[in-house]
Symmetry: C2
Subunit: 333 residues, 2 copies
DNA sequence: CTGAAAGCGCTTACAG
DNA sequence: CTGAAAGCGCTTACAG
């Protein structure tokens, strides 16, 4: 690899001047700059990340924390982030945060502290207070997607409103036996997305004068299979619901598979609504609340870039969502 | 951030000794080592990536080149890679290689040359000769997944064999009108996965004495929607096939949607086989050739770690695949 | 506008 | 087994 001194020699200037010409910081005469650029180009010089970042303290790298790499939603957001970071010359380093405590601490207390990133985007990871503190101790901008902790600045959709919108759609069609598939316990209080969706569901039902009893809430883990099994439990009951609001499209797909397996037609015998705007929702004719995950990633990347440029603290922001009505919902029979 | 000299002061030794004690390289007495470890732990010291990598030339970071972040297959492989890299203390930096020429050059000639990675895993990206040369000029180990260039060491499945296996399954069931959805042009010759799958299909058909005419080959772009449209074209013909071999599960899903839309039953009226082992293939009852993408990622990561440890050149290897028969295939009516 | 020099925070021969 | 010192390849006050 050719170094800065080779470029300096070829251009007949000092390394300081090469550095100034290439970075655009400091003043260099037009003629000198041109000579330096030509020399760098001819030699194929690229600045060494390690040397540059040791000298400046900046890395031009953003860390992204993801709970799972192979869920559609996260892949979408990640893709959105990469889309906006790459043209700005920023790299993206991935940190997979598993459920287990030990490896999580390893990522937060070790990997991230190696000083390899200028900022962190935390994607829907549920951090406990100690972990959040660890993250903030980095002294670097942190942007969360999805509310994860009261202490983290986040880009969020209004998850209660999302759930109310989906539920209200079913109620307006005339359904009264509406069940919800999602998280039913409230461990994470005011910042837990699945819990907020369940609360929004409950609120819409209550507002419509329909009491919500525990039977209408089936817990599932946001996978297709989880949705399939939860829906199976609901549909095998004597008093099965006529509509299901699933807290994610993948769980909604599972519900559709469960219905189909039982000879129930969607939407004639069962209406289903999801959340996300999954790429396959159109094929399933699934009515869903789209939350534009790719755009969420882009927004997060933009927020990070803005903070890095301005030095200002990041600001929380609210993300768009939209009900997309397709053919998985209809009036009850 | 606390530095090595603070640790040295606290432990009452030189920074050289701290470095040796922490890295395990060089000799340190047990007592000194214990004191250093304790001091480092108390201070929460973590070595600076930039300083360490400038001094050693090693980064403990692996670059992964991906064409698309939001395809299921790539997300799986990526997840497999991360799974194996993370416990070894290696970070993973993502480089998205789009189709356009300019940004690709930017990644290969700029980003990767910033010296931020010790090795590169290239995931199903089709590089032209110049790009491969650029990659090799890095002087770092490169492992490809999927055959991409004759010059790159790769982990590959035998794609012709995969296609023959899928096609033979349909032929054994008694189908003779078998169509293929995939890539139909052979730009990339001997190293292009879609082309190899098409050739395997043609070979199986020819071996069975069935001539393959162009009508049986419908090009598609490996997305669900592409498969849906390609299958639509096949199924709208007067002499529609009784079976379809799709070169990916996602295209197979699209084919199933296309059949369903036309009132054709799978497998009674149409048999469908895919390739990949997609997480949803079970729900679609799709017969497929599983190629275990998560395991492919793990294998690639292991190969990279082995090369990094031994200093030996990487070696090509062959990956497993397996026909999984489900309910999307049956004897023709 | 430009250069000499110090410094970023480590690692590693070298000497003892 | 341990320390002093040079060096990794840049950047940036400082001086001119």
């Amino acid at each position: 690899m050719v170094g800065i001194d080779e470029v300096a020699r070829r251009a007949g200037v000092s390394t300081a001047t090469v550095s100034r010409a290439l970075s655009g910081r400091g003043t260099v005469s037009a003629a000198t700059r041109a000579r330096v650029l030509a020399a760098a180009d001819e030699l194929g010089y690229v600045v060494s990340a390690a040397a540059s970042s040791l000298a400046t303290g900046r890395t031009r790298n953003v860390g992204v924390l993801v709970p799972l790499l192979d869920r559609w939603f996260y892949a979408q957001v990640l893709s959105g982030i990469a889309t906006r970071l790459s043209p700005e010359g920023y790299d993206l380093t991935l940190y997979n945060l598993p459920d287990a405590h030990a490896p999580r601490r390893d990522v937060l207390a070790r990997s991230l502290r190696r000083n390899r990133v200028d900022a962190v985007i935390a994607l829907s990871v549920f951090l406990d207070d100690e972990e959040v503190a660890e993250l903030q101790r980095l002294g670097k901008p942190v942007i969360a997607i999805g509310r994860q902790s009261p202490q983290l600045v986040a880009l969020t959709v209004d998850d209660r409103a999302v759930a109310r919108l989906a539920t209200a759609h079913l109620l307006e069609l005339g359904h009264t036996a509406v069940a919800h598939i999602g998280e039913s316990r409230g461990r994470h209080g005011e910042v837990h997305v699945p819990t907020l969706r369940r609360r929004g569901f409950e609120q819409a039902m209550t507002d419509a004068g329909i009491p919500v009893h525990g039977d209408l809430l089936e817990p599932a883990d946001f996978t297709i299979d989880g949705g399939y099994r939860a829906a199976g439990r609901l549909l095998d009951r004597a008093d099965r619901p006529t509509a299901i609001f699933a807290a994610s499209d993948e769980m909604a797909f599972g519900a559709i598979f469960a219905a189909r397996e039982r000879g129930l037609r969607v939407p004639e015998d069962l209406s289903v609504v999801g959340v996300d705007g999954h790429e396959m929702s159109g094929f399933f004719a699934l009515t869903t609340v789209d939350q534009f995950p790719h755009a969420q990633g882009e927004r997060a990347a933009e927020a990070v870039l803005a903070v890095l440029r301005s030095g200002d603290a990041p600001e929380p922001a609210s993300l768009a969502f939209e009900l997309v009505v397709r053919n998985s919902t209809a009036r009850p029979a």
